[in-house]
Symmetry: D2
Subunit: 365 residues, 4 copies
């Protein structure tokens, strides 16, 4: 059963394990004529790299991307783009202990249940390193979308109970702090909270929000291929994500219709909405407002604190997960969410080109 392939027109196929030789992705369906080289991809990978702050694992992973195909004289040719990142720094450490039991909150048990055995080195295919491939593909999608006037702003919205304050929202601040929060004050409090929980040998979760600007109205479809449905799948397919919201999300279930409905208005000569509870999607299609996607991540399951679990001999044991783990994965996941959102939006945009006879006739005239 194939499970590492995503998309329809802009189709990505990812591969690689945490402690295998390499991680990679093939993009099948990238339009021809896009100027592209590794320098377009690397900055995105750097955003997810560990070891950049006290809030992430001190592991050093020197994730350098190489493009192996699909480019000629600096431009995409329309043929598959294969990208690879070698796993350079994995240590040949002893995994026999971790192989012997099921870590709570991890895929160890489910992997064994499905396949009968697993690559237990560093989580194997279920490792966060798998997202390198998503980010490499996402960087390409974002470059294409940017050229069409569509932009992404993604940031940490909350860590534990500490949320950003909309009144202090400052887009410039996002890259100023290591937690990627658009609120300097919340970032300091959240940072302290993470450090405190780390000291307690515990870990922390949080929320990521993406704002997509510039998408024309009418992108997405009416029934199963709703833009929000595909964004939900894209986001929920990221490890540790437990909830996905569009616009007001859960809060919308508590509002009355008269409050939640966004009235239309004429502004600057064209139609827009007076508010954006809907998060930019109506009936599965973009409505011209900003798309708002919110994703909730559970706390890192690997903690030093003792936990109860069982080993492969069916014996109950107490374990402490050693190793250099992120106390929180949210900051590093910001670029992963952005990448998955971009891949999804690009695919919808490409599919939309075939929606009307008028558009098709115009294209081929």
């Amino acid at each position: 059963m194939a499970g590492s392939t995503f998309g329809t027109i802009f189709l990505i196929s990812t591969w690689g394990e945490s402690h295998g030789k390499a991680i990679g992705v093939v993009i099948d369906g990238c339009p021809a004529g896009l100027a592209l080289d590794e320098s377009d991809i690397q900055p995105f990978l750097n955003r997810r790299k560990p070891g950049q702050s006290v809030y992430s694992t001190p592991r050093k992973e020197d994730d350098v991307v190489e493009i192996l195909s699909g480019i000629f004289e600096g431009r995409t040719t329309g043929t598959p783009i294969s990208m690879i990142v070698y796993n350079k720094t994995q240590q040949s450490k002893d995994y026999s202990e971790i192989a012997s039991y099921y870590r709570p909150g991890h895929a160890d048990y489910t992997f064994d249940a499905k396949y009968g055995f697993r690559d237990y080195r560093g989580g194997g295919r279920s490792s966060g390193r798998e997202t390198i491939a998503r980010v490499a593909a996402g960087a390409v999608a974002i470059k294409i979308l940017n050229q069409l006037g569509i932009t992404f702003t993604t940031y940490t919205r909350s860590i534990g109970d500490i949320e950003i304050d909309p009144a202090r929202f400052d887009v410039e601040e996002i890259f100023n702090n290591k937690l990627y929060m658009p609120d300097a004050e919340a970032a300091i409090r959240a940072g302290n909270y993470v450090i405190e929980m780390t000291k307690e040998h515990d870990s922390v979760g949080g929320q990521i929000e993406s704002i997509i600007k510039g998408l024309p109205a009418g992108i997405g479809d009416t029934v199963f291929e709703k833009l929000d449905a595909n964004l939900a799948k894209a986001a929920m397919s990221i490890g540790a994500v437990k909830a996905v919201e569009i616009g007001d999300g859960i809060a919308a279930s508590r509002l009355s219709g008269s409050i939640n409905n966004d009235g239309f208005q004429i502004k600057d000569g064209s139609i827009s909405k007076r508010s954006n509870h809907a998060g930019g999607i109506l009936g599965g299609m973009s409505d011209g407002s900003d798309i708002i996607l919110r994703t909730s991540f559970k706390a890192t399951p690997s903690i030093l604190k003792n936990q109860l679990t069982v080993n492969k001999n069916n014996t109950e044991i107490e374990v402490s997960i050693k190793g250099r783990h992120d106390p929180i994965i949210v900051p590093r996941a910001v670029v992963v969410v952005e990448s998955m959102a971009a891949i999804t939006v690009l695919d919808a945009l490409l599919l939309n080109m075939t929606a009307t006879m008028e558009g098709i006739a115009r294209f081929y005239s």
Copy 2:
């Protein structure tokens, strides 16, 4: 662009508009040998029928399903099952007013933006009647899954701010009240709230929860085809859904790892989890616990209360949406969520058969 087709092995293709001749679905890929006739489908359609209580539109829709193909001597043959429900009661009322403006919270504007025009009669393809086709297909999926020991319990978890109380949770109560709430007391309060809001010419949202029992561990995939990712898409593809959660969902983002992780234990001689914050899915695969899926619906956008909007002449106007609309769609959507969840789980279960050489060799021996 095709947007009304869902699934891989158990593939459904739905069609039909609110005020067209009929609504229907083709199931391509239903296994052969299932005893099936209309009496397996009709009870599910009856659960979503309007006009059953004061909480739903007094419109009478006599939705009778007919199976047109794929059955021979009472059993499925492995060929496509085509099901149809004729739209009997649509009135030839005057839609010229509704055609002239964009209803807030509806797909009117996005439909026009995408296609240049729309079938404005009763919402056309974006009508809630579209879900008839999902429920008909879901009934088949549920019958198959039941035979494999997998069951679904779905109910209203909250309406507006009124949530069920876990201490009063009573599965028998679900079908005792017209809101499908498993808490008789909450159902009374919620009912009063809906009536009150209806009097105010307003509408109400809420949450639906599904519990899936009996699914073996290991169903779903590790990366993009995670079981939770596909459940998220399935649920978010239902009109008016704005959020999807698995297990503790958003709350998981606030818990520390030591609390959120579900330790494993040995119970009755086999491995299980001590708690179920994860909602039955780890690393994209079922873990043997109950699958918990929670879906948040916005309030019905059609309200009698005056709203600001614009018409097709680009003039700002005030409108009141007349007609017999549901003040809340949540109770009728319970069976829709259950259907989409079942279709998704069945597809994952079928795909899982090809996961290992051992399973394949055993099958063909």
Copy 3:
């Protein structure tokens, strides 16, 4: 396993058995804004209707198509188009004999091998009536393609050993004879041959050729989604087809490179080919010349002549297939081949819109 769904953007899902209630198709992904009603479809269905000549079964099948969805005010809306043809004239005859044994050349045995049982009435899903759905969808594809300047000419190329003579090729003649041969003289000889074989209680095969004009160069893809690969699948998916050729086809395997290669030239100021051995496709993509697709059909397997076979009691028996069968299916299959070719070409044309950044940017500017 889903097997009755075809295409990517223009996706069709067919259903129905020979002696079930109806046959139908859902087109998911038809562009919006196409003027369409039943009168666009019916003439194509009439071309495949039986009972039109001495060369086909005298069975009368009054195949009247009805469109159930996807049209509003005479135009396609972009939502699924459901079409249905009721099976009006099937007799409630006794099928117990045919149910008891395996007809040579039919799918009886393979159906039982796969599913354990079968709908034996008139071939069930493996009946030629299944192609009604393909033709209904094909009629829509052809209408779209015609509006883009792409046309189809399809005819019988040979019957048994009797081939059309290129020197006498006359496109006007195709609809002048009941065998759809573009050579009046060959048509007479072929007609006599069919009548003779019918008298001998035997049946006849033949070849169908499609010429597609007006397709721009560059449609199709380089590797697996080659235009010829998809045409081959489309054609071979029609019952009784045993070979598919593009251009010179098999003959190309006997020619030397210097003869088979089509040199390019400048004609009327633009590039074209000096010959068309390639049948209009180079490297999987259309080259601007006519696309030539040739399909070979075996003789109708149902014959009155005695044949050896086995029954379900594993006993060898001799059988004579009674009933009103076509002595040759080729003439009726002409429109089926044309339909499948059109569906394939349209899908490739729509997919091609996303091939280049320049095209995408132009579309969204």
Copy 4:
């Protein structure tokens, strides 16, 4: 538009250009538990390697495969298998001449028509080197199928007009001659013919036949996913293929029904066919007999002989294609056809596991 991805359950995604850094494939959906390393793949790649005889290009390509993912402790894990073959020996020769004009019989013109430019070095993505990826994936499919008792015999059936003589058919001979013909005498004549044509600066085509043994009856589907339809697509997707036949193929169109039909018999206590005109497929499903697939290849388009064509300045010119090209590609393509057939059959076999309730219930019991 994605065009380098093939399959449903056993899904392959290929990438790489002739003169890029590498060629590769990702297999997404390989079952877990298969013992696999490079030594399973390399012998298949060696069968397609050039420079092995006077009948193929003297170019040396040292195509060494490396597995990058999906294997743990010698077995497949169920996660994607990424394989890479570096392009070691491409020379940095001057391609400016070949870039300036359109080679007859090649994809140069269609590539430019589609994308506006092309990677002209050695054919780019349209090079025969692309098939390295197919063969690497095919080797895995064949290993799986062999373990299930399904075997492949593939050979050259004809070169130019020289066909093998069934009376001299000797399976042992296939690997004894460099043309992979199962008839030593035909191989000598064909070899002489190729040498003669090479001296004339011309090239030669031919036919490849695959015999698939051991496939159980009932594999494949009834309508679009017919086993023969998918084999036709698989075969026609190989560069230079112009025709695909199943069983008697084109000859079947000339036979009467009474001759072409294969009667059933009881032999060794079970049902089989008395003959195999059908090539092992009835109604799209395997019938338990050998599957016979015949593929016709055109002559290599690159020839030293002068040809007329046009250059990018729209001027007619005469060209001679220099370089070390195969005078015939058929012998090297034998393993490519076998690979594509195996990938197709494996996918059908895996899909078939979900065909019946009985099979599903048995699997999950």
